[in-house]
């Protein structure tokens, strides 16, 4: 078993390296000159050479690569061309907002999915069930950036109860979170509904019923507790989509998180910043994958007590 964990971590590190290398290669086969692109041609030869030196652009590719890797490991991710700040500092500044956004989105998504999933199960096959399914799935098919725009139209412009943009204050997080959550909720609702159905068929539920335990207690206490782990698994599978969505949504609402920073870096052609973000996100993402994998192998044999 430890062998498996070891293999998994190794595999993950290799994947991270591959992704980092690809990121490096992409950003260094730039046609054209990053310095010139940013500062224009109004630069003395001296200043130009100095800038190239600072950014290490004169060193052979291999040296640049090694410095890059070294930098990542030590936390030095380069210097943003446009923001004139170290990339690491920028990441630290913008990251908390994204974390808040993702956390709140997960909160909304999990709570509503559980409520909707339980309701859907209880009223299996009836009109309410079908309405729940219909609406959740409809929202999922909508492009999320457009949905965000509609939210702004409705809540900010028409009703004027929420701010249309920004990242200061609690109100600014509401619309972006809902826009993101609406993509996650249908997946979770369907899963929860299915899993509840599955668990209710298990023998211990019959045992509970035979002891006179009320149906509601069975559902809310026992079944939901037993769902927690599979739910966590499926959420971590969806994290990738969630992250991708966050990039776009943050742009829609001018919400200053990592996604916003990333899009800005891309539009500004701020290579170091973008590279830093790609590296950072890749590492986080792959690490989460590995941790979930390992976590899952730990949990599974324990919960299943058949020897």
């Amino acid at each position: 078993m430890t062998k498996y964990i070891f293999k998994r971590i190794l595999y993950g590190i290799v994947t991270i390296f591959i992704v980092l290398t690809i990121a490096f290669l992409i950003l260094h086969i730039i046609p054209g000159d990053p310095v010139k692109a940013l500062t224009g041609i109004f630069l003395t030869e001296e200043a130009y050479q100095r800038m190239r030196e600072t950014f290490g652009l004169n060193d052979p590719l291999m040296i640049q690569y090694l410095n890059y890797i070294k930098g990542i490991v030590t936390g030095h991710l380069g210097h943003s061309l446009r923001q004139k700040q170290p990339v690491t500092i920028l990441l630290i500044q913008y990251l908390p907002n994204t974390i808040k956004l993702v956390a709140f989105t997960l909160l909304i998504a999990v709570v509503s999915s559980i409520l909707l999933g339980v309701a859907s199960y209880k009223k299996k096959g009836t009109f309410i069930d079908r309405i729940i399914l219909f609406f959740t799935m409809t929202f999922q098919s909508l492009p999320n950036f457009w949905l965000g725009v509609i939210f702004i139209l409705f809540f900010a412009v028409e009703l004027k109860i929420l701010p249309p943009l920004g990242s200061k204050g609690f109100k600014t997080i509401i619309m972006p979170s809902f826009a993101l959550a609406l993509g996650l909720i249908p997946v979770l609702v369907r899963f929860i509904r299915y899993k509840i159905g599955e668990i209710m068929m298990e023998e211990f539920v019959l045992s509970l019923r035979s002891r006179g335990i009320r149906e509601n207690i069975i559902i809310y206490k026992h079944v939901l507790k037993n769902i927690t782990i599979p739910l966590i698994t499926i959420i971590s599978q969806q994290l990738g989509n969630l992250l991708a969505g966050a990039f776009i949504i943050e742009r829609v609402f001018n919400y200053k998180g990592i996604g916003f920073l990333g899009i800005m870096a891309a539009t500004d052609r701020d290579y170091p910043l973008l590279q830093g973000i790609v590296v950072f996100v890749a590492i986080i993402f792959i690490s989460i994958n590995i941790i979930t994998d390992i976590f899952y192998t730990f949990i599974d044999p324990r919960v299943k007590y058949t020897r």
Partner: protein, 297 residues
């Protein structure tokens, strides 16, 4: 000579995940296959035909500005006129024609990506399934990597570095979707070719891989249609998202994404600008998914 095979069971899970049993499934379940397909085709046609024939319809030039009539509303509202059915945007350009031409651009890019993706993915999947061994392992790893990774990051990197042209966009979109085709066809090849070895004896002279290819082509069109419809919807949406953030089709050339993106600023005084393109997008997506679902039955 060769019985048809049911290829629907090989359809990669990722397509199913993308479609995700939307409202189209509830509809297609309720109706017979033929009716669903017809409805789907009707919806798609309503959107696509005007788009494809836009230049011949005599509608207005999408880039023609009219500063005296900026931000006029659609014809059913106060201040609107039949001259501009969906109103005008912030530079006085007719919104409907921008949407139609934008649809054209989006379709070209998404369609191009689709064709390349399909060809490449099919080829790769077939090779992977047929030759097996190390090649198969490598290709499979690549497939896994592509599917698991949040694609947006890679897309950003590429679009930052390379100049934004149609070819770049097609390339980015292609990268986001080839793997599902590869996986599906790998599955098909792996299982179905076993059956073909029996027939192999009959096929004298032709190299194995050619037999496989011909056989697949004959039987795979339905599956391809199912996959491609969903994929097209996905790609059009992706293109819109990329254009929305400004990394796709550049204004003044229209795209559903960038009309929404640019129009967002004017949402308080001209809400129709960002809203209308979205409606077209939704309808087309809906129609394509319904088509895919109906064909699958």
């Amino acid at each position: 000579m060769v019985e048809g095979m049911d290829t629907s069971k090989y359809i990669d899970k990722n397509f199913k995940r993308r479609k995700l049993f939307g409202p189209y499934r509830l509809i297609s379940k309720g109706l017979s296959k033929k009716v669903s397909v017809l409805i789907a085709i009707f919806i798609i046609a309503v959107i696509i035909i005007p788009i494809l024939f836009a230049p011949f319809l005599g509608i207005q030039d999408p880039t023609l500005q009219g500063l005296e009539k900026i931000n006029t509303p659609p014809f059913w509202m106060d201040g609107g006129s039949r001259e501009h059915i969906l109103g005008t945007d912030f530079l006085g350009r007719d919104l409907l024609s921008r949407i139609l031409y934008g649809g054209r651009n989006s379709l070209i890019i998404a369609g191009g990506a689709l064709i390349i993706s399909l060809s490449f993915g099919t080829l790769l999947g077939t090779i992977s399934g047929h030759f097996g061994g190390k090649i198969d392992t490598i290709i499979q790893r690549l497939i896994e990597l592509q599917i698991a990774f949040p694609f947006i990051i890679l897309a950003l990197a590429i679009l930052t570095v390379f100049p934004i042209k149609i070819t770049t966009l097609i390339f980015v979109l292609f990268l986001s979707t080839w793997a599902a085709y590869a996986r599906t066809f790998r599955g098909i090849v792996l299982v179905e070719t076993k059956k073909l070895y029996i027939l192999g004896a009959k096929a004298i002279g032709e190299p194995e891989i050619v037999i496989i290819f011909k056989y697949l082509l004959r039987n795979i069109i339905p599956t391809i249609l199912v996959l491609a419809s969903v994929d097209l919807a996905f790609l059009i949406t992706m293109e819109a998202a990329i254009s929305f953030v400004g990394l796709g089709i550049q204004p003044p050339a229209p795209s559903w994404g960038n009309i929404i993106g640019e129009g967002k600023k004017y949402i308080d005084i001209a809400w129709w600008i960002p809203t209308m393109p979205g409606i077209f997008l939704i309808l087309l997506t809906f129609g394509l998914n319904l088509l895919s679902d109906s064909l699958e039955k």
